[in-house]
């Protein structure tokens, strides 16, 4: 418990960034039906289950053209 309090100023922003990434990516996956490859279900799993890296992979490689 002592450790958690010591690292709290670090853990909070990390958690917030992670949540922001997850939510923006998830909204984008749900709103845009076109992907460069894969389908919606795959991308939802990638974005939700792989922390931090999943949403980045989606935006860099998976996001389809408008």
């Amino acid at each position: 418990m002592q450790d958690i309090i010591e690292y709290l100023p670090f853990l909070m922003p990390l958690l917030i960034i992670q949540l922001i990434l997850l939510i923006t990516a998830l909204i984008h996956v749900l709103r845009h039906p076109n992907y460069r490859f894969g389908n919606r279900v795959i991308w939802i799993f990638v974005v939700v289950l792989i922390q931090i890296v999943g949403p980045i992979i989606y935006f860099v490689f998976g996001r389809g053209e408008e």
């Binding site: 690292y7 100023p9 670090f10 922003p13 990390l14 960034i17 922001i20 990434l21 923006t24 984008h28 931090i52 980045i56 935006f59 860099v60 996001r63």
Partner: protein
Amino acid sequence: MRSYIAFTKKEFHEIWSTYKFFILITVFLLLGMMNPITAKITPQLLDSFMPEGMVIAIAEPTALDSWMQFFSNVPQIGLIVLVIVFSGVMTSEFSRGTLINLLTKGLSRSTVILSKFTMSSAVWTLCYILCFAVTYFYTAYFWSSESINNIGFSVFCLWLFGILLLAIIMLGGVLFKNSYGGLLLTSGLVVVLMLVNIVPNLQNYNPISLASNNMALLTGDVPISDFTGAIVICGVGIIAFITSAIILFKKKQM
């Protein structure tokens, strides 16, 4: 000048709407947080993985360890992400054919290159400052009393190397049809620079020392004057790559 400002604005708008800006900012923010925390918890991690009864002496982490993480994580992860994100900055325009209209309407070709270079440099600078600020803040939080030599200069060196990479990407984007060409050219040149670094006489003039030799600067093993050659070469390289990109782009068939 007006077309330059307008085109640069369009570039900023594009990087925002393609989520690339968002990705870069988050990656560099996370990197900035990772550096001090990795330095802080490494001894504890090693401790918990050790089998019962085995003891190894690990020095208490210092602010220097945190900056060591900074100067290994930013070149290794940060610069790679930067290059990947910007590798398509020229080629996506060619493949979609969006430039043809603008160029026939009288937009000068050098403006295109300079605008893209300005935009990517500005984004890199912003992300880098952010990453530095976060690392600085947490390092000061964990190890408040310690001061570090030459930190500003060392950070500037790495920034300049990032700009050099962006200039190479611009040239790669003009030379090749798809974005992998630019990626290949950039990584190829970095590998060449690393090989050149084996020759001891050339090390002081090699731009890669700006990204790899920062720790020696912080510990005071190497004086600032040793970096002058590398900085001059790096600056000349940036100008040379951008000029050749402009010249080649003017000759290129759309």
